[in-house]
Amino acid sequence: MTFWTDPIGLLDAWLFAVLTGWGLPADVSRIILYILGGFVLATGAMVFTVFLIWLERKLIGRFQDRFGPNRVGPFGIFQTVADMLKIFTKEFITPDGADLIPYNLAPILSVAGVLFVWAVLPFAINMLGVNLNVGVLYVVAAGAIGELGMILAGWGSNNKFALIGAFRAIGQMISYEVPMILTLLVPVMFTGSMGLNDIVKAQNPWFVVVAPLAAFIFFISQVAENARAPFDLTEAESELVAGFNIEYSGLKFGMFYVAEFLHAFTISVLFAVIFLGGWLGPGAEKYPWLGLLYTMIKTTVVFFTILLMRAGLPRFRIDQVMDLNWKLFTPLAIGILIVTAVVDKSLALFTPTIRVLGLLAANLVMLLVTLRFLKIFAQKKRRPLVVPSASTELPDDISEVLL
């Protein structure tokens, strides 16, 4: 066990030796180390967000043909630090008639809901908080806590725009959880375990190859769950002013902000881990630092895609968002689950190549069937072209109408 093969285990063993050397009992020092580990992971994630916010602003700037932050430090890299300092000094404004407990609890829960996920993310073979045997379910549970934060923010603010924003957010998030969980069951079914590290280890080939449709639905549902463009109706400025966080100022608003940006990165890591093989790559089992590098490369690709979607797509209407979920994604996800289970089980006896090809063919068939259905449906829905008839023709003398 050296720094290059197991850095976390080395650090853990050393700290444990130090603590027991001070005369603490073994289980107390274990608990202290757990708390310390959680603290370090959470702080690391929050500090990392500072970099993420800069990266996102810079990239969005480039997508939109402008420079992005470029004043503070080289390439504007200290812009977020300056923003952070400013937000620290701002005043907390509590709206009149606010319900104080929900109002103050909401930002904390929002951040906590994202940070909880980091406890199970495997960045490399042994660089992870814990390989929970119910990891996937745990990720869903953490999402539920984030939802709770939003609804409390909407309620506690005593503001109708905040409440409408929160209702929209919750409706959207709960709805998109359904296809998300259903598609998460596909990798779980392939692996036979819900632990995220086990899912990574089982990816031969990557699950995005054997379940591309499930991966696509999972990705879109996660973006919708994060309420990012094009699904950012919860904070549609033109309709709702700012959404559920309208009444927050200073650091409390900053916490919602951090939660949103960190969530975008977290779903990128999750997608990379569940569908893109996580830390898998040549030499990654022996040298976890290489695995960390692979995870980060894959995550960056996904993160870049999310940013590109945000920069390039206009916002959906709320009924379009709901239609997309309930009329397309949920039935399709159920179909994917059933078809994948049947095909995988019936091809289990053949060679892996045949199994992969069969699963791919099944996905292709499902895609074609869905597109066919969409075509029929879209043609039914399309409004007939309005042809001006004789009776609606403009009168010869327009002044008759005007008078």
């Binding site: 929900p102 045997n133 379910l137 539920a144 709770l148 309620w155 819900m194």
Partner: protein, 171 residues
């Protein structure tokens, strides 16, 4: 006293305090928040009892679904009862007395039972509880039938909930 016991006592005290707040607070929203705290406490107890699966399920089902539904219901019906009036029925003292009496007598009866002082057996680490549970849920000799009936119940509740809560006057 080990660290686990201290954690258990702290969590149990917090859960019971939250439960008392659920049944005693006048403002429904705060009562609902206390319910969430109590449910989290129960989830931690599940984890302490060695079933991480049910701890996480508790958070998903109770906080992700039930607590949010209750908060929605509280929001939609917030004008019906003002927090200035008592939330208790007139004879609530009798209810408190009866509950306390039943509680103490049950504890007394239980304390005479041998199993009350049982020591936990160490779980066999080679057995994955979730796997065994999943297999028994789908085993026709096991619990496949109850499992299917539960799914039918959930479907019925889904349809019933949508039908009942719909505004029939509007359409």
């Amino acid at each position: 006293m080990t660290a686990v016991q201290i954690v258990f006592l702290a969590v149990a005290a917090l859960t019971l305090a939250a439960a008392v707040m659920v049944v005693s607070l006048r403002r429904m929203m705060q009562s609902a928040l206390a319910l969430i705290l109590a449910l989290v406490g129960v989830a931690v107890i599940f984890a302490l009892l060695g079933s991480g699966f049910f701890a996480v399920s508790q958070v998903v089902v109770y906080i992700g679904a039930i607590a949010i539904l209750i908060i929605f219901a509280v929001m939609l019906t917030q004008n019906s009862m003002s927090p200035e009036h008592s939330q208790m029925n007139p004879g609530f003292l009798y209810a408190a007395l009866g509950s306390a009496l039943l509680f103490s007598s049950l504890v007394f009866i239980l304390s005479m039972w041998v199993g009350f002082y049982a020591i936990p057996v160490n779980l066999d680490p080679s057995v994955d509880t979730i796997t065994v549970l999943g297999l028994s849920l789908t085993d026709p000799q096991g619990f496949a039938l109850p499992f299917e009936i539960v799914s039918v119940l959930l479907l019925a509740a889904l349809i019933g909930g949508i039908y009942i809560a719909r505004d029939h006057h509007r359409d």
